[in-house]
Point group: C2
Chain length 339, copies 2
DNA sequence: GTGAAAGCGCTAACAA
DNA sequence: TTGTTAGCGCTTTCAC
């Protein structure tokens, strides 16, 4: 039972009869060091089971090599895919990823952000909560010039990089599709206006209607929290109208699924009586019956790109590079629910 | 444009004309400090926009307040739920969570583990990859007495805490259920034996057969990687047998879904021609047609519990507390695919 | 190419 | 209750 004390560069230095700074240089592949010593040091390090103390290195160099991520919920497919992408890229660059979830609550989000701030993350990637209507907590970062990158849902009052998908066009494409398949009365179950994504989807919807000179009907626009329950309520309100819609663009796949269930319960045929389109291409969407038309967002790619951009900004912490807003295209997937 | 230099306890000490250690104590709510100074310090800290340097504190106190998590894939529902649980608990205790994914590859897993080790995480929660047939990389932790906790998939050669679900019993219950609904020829699409979970599920299956004196048929047992594609192949082999099964226990919901698709393509009725049961209760399982019978694993709860246990062990880093293996019960959900 | 020395910001003996 | 002192392990000038 040999007790292993933690090996430090000083131990290595002592054993090798050189200075600690040389050891440090050799270990970090510094250029001004002889090939011979480098090799010697690295071999010894391995032999003695040396492990660098990342904490000390970071303290000294004032970097944490960590990026913080805040999402509404980790266990939602879109976000877990994005995290997967962030993670994959970050690790190739030696960055750690600390994850936290806001549960779509502003106070929790502020909390997470604060903690990440105190932990001195080098940058933060965030998709804001449904409640976020202020930016005080995010100012912490922008004030200290720590990079923030928004993905999918952003805070309009903060200048920063953003990775978004083309929600406007997606909403437009969905609505066009419904029009083209013959729907005359097209409703939309929207999410809170506070979030760019829902606002843009709605505006795409309105634009498409306008283009074919369909006047928007107030009763055909439901604004909800887009949960399963709220979706069902909203859809039932729509279908109880004197002149119910024959096509519904649901703000996400969850509400589209609620709608589907409602139709099954009420013997409505999809898409004959009412055509349905969702948003996000959740794993279940392809396999429900009827399969659900939807819009596919490149979650993994967004995450990967987000990590690339923020690490790039961290490493060239150039205040000079102008902020960039990248809008990725989406793909409309037409399935049986609107064929 | 005032340039904010980072405020330290020394700045606070200077301004308040007290010593840095007093500031430190006041900030950490140390008992041996007067209420008055504590208040004074905390107010000033707020006023001056002080933020603690977690890195320095951790270096000094030799803790990182971080737990590492390694899972095969973040974007699988079971794992993202577990992570969500880990996260939720850890943050209440002021612990950070660093996440990494092995993609079910041993070398990647070893890599992740190494990085977490160098980052001096205080403990690691891991669900091992499908390839993991050695424990060298994990020995790093056990050798240094850093707590490891396995959840769901464990490495049998490492002594440590484990949070598992009752796979044996689940496999047993599924098979019993198929027997009771009248299936005579029950097949099983199993996962790699290397992993406890698949081995146990299979053994539960065999036990149930034995109990009712059904002799296991070699051709009815397929061992695969449980991907969508492999599942389809395995299922098609089963259904091409001279005497095909009338009930199939699929190792996970993904392969059960493949089976379902095969049945649709080949005009086989589920459950009349062949009954199907999956495993994991993926989000899609409830909503496919026919809805998929499966076993629900408490992912979030496992994660939450895992975080509790490991933080407990970190904080009472008592080598004396014996290792614990917690086996959580599962719930068999019978849906239309086997009704 | 290598070494000496200083210090990142904090905590925790030990003193007073 | 407060202050003094000594590092935690590393990086990074500045010398030589």
């Amino acid at each position: 039972m040999k007790k292993h004390p933690e090996i430090t560069i000083h131990h290595l230095a002592e054993v090798l009869k050189i200075s600690a700074s040389t050891v440090s240089r050799a270990l970090s592949d510094n250029k001004r060091i002889s090939e011979k010593t480098r090799k010697k040091v690295q071999e010894k390090a391995l032999e003695m089971g040396y492990r660098p103390n990342v904490l000390a290195a970071n303290l000294r160099s004032k970097r944490s090599m960590t990026i913080g991520v805040v999402v509404p919920r980790i266990d939602r497919h879109f976000f877990s895919s994005a995290i997967s992408g962030i993670e994959d890229y970050a690790w190739t660059k030696g960055f750690n990823v600390i994850i936290s979830q806001s549960n779509d609550l502003l106070f929790k989000e502020a909390n997470c952000v604060r903690t990440l701030f105190n932990n001195r993350v080098d940058g933060i990637i965030i998709s804001i909560s449904m409640q976020t209507n202020e930016d005080k907590h995010l100012k912490l970062f922008s004030d200290k010039n720590i990079p923030i990158l928004f993905f999918d849902r952003y805070c309009p009052t903060i200048e920063s990089d953003r990775i978004l998908v083309d929600d406007y066009n997606s909403g437009y494409k969905i609505t066009r599709h419904l029009i083209e398949r013959g729907c005359k009365r097209i409703a939309h179950i929207a999410g809170p206006e506070l979030l760019n994504i829902y606002k843009n989807r709605k505006e795409g919807y309105l634009k498409a209607l306008e283009e074919v000179e369909i006047l928007p009907v107030k009763e055909y626009l439901e604004v909800t929290g887009l949960t399963k329950e709220e979706g069902k309520l909203a859809f039932s309100r729509l279908m109880s109208l004197p002149n119910p819609p024959d096509g519904v663009f649901c703000g996400n796949d969850t509400t589209a699924l609620s709608a589907l269930e409602y139709c099954q319960d009420h013997k409505l045929r999809v898409p004959q009586d009412v055509a349905l389109v969702g948003f996000s291409d959740e794993p279940f969407s392809a396999v429900v019956t009827p399969s659900l038309s939807t819009v596919k967002q490149p979650g993994y790619e967004m995450g990967y790109l987000a990590a690339q951009k923020i690490i790039d900004r961290i490493q060239n912490n150039s205040v000079t590079i102008p902020f960039e807003q990248i809008v990725l295209p989406t793909e409309l997937i037409i399935r049986n629910s609107s064929k």
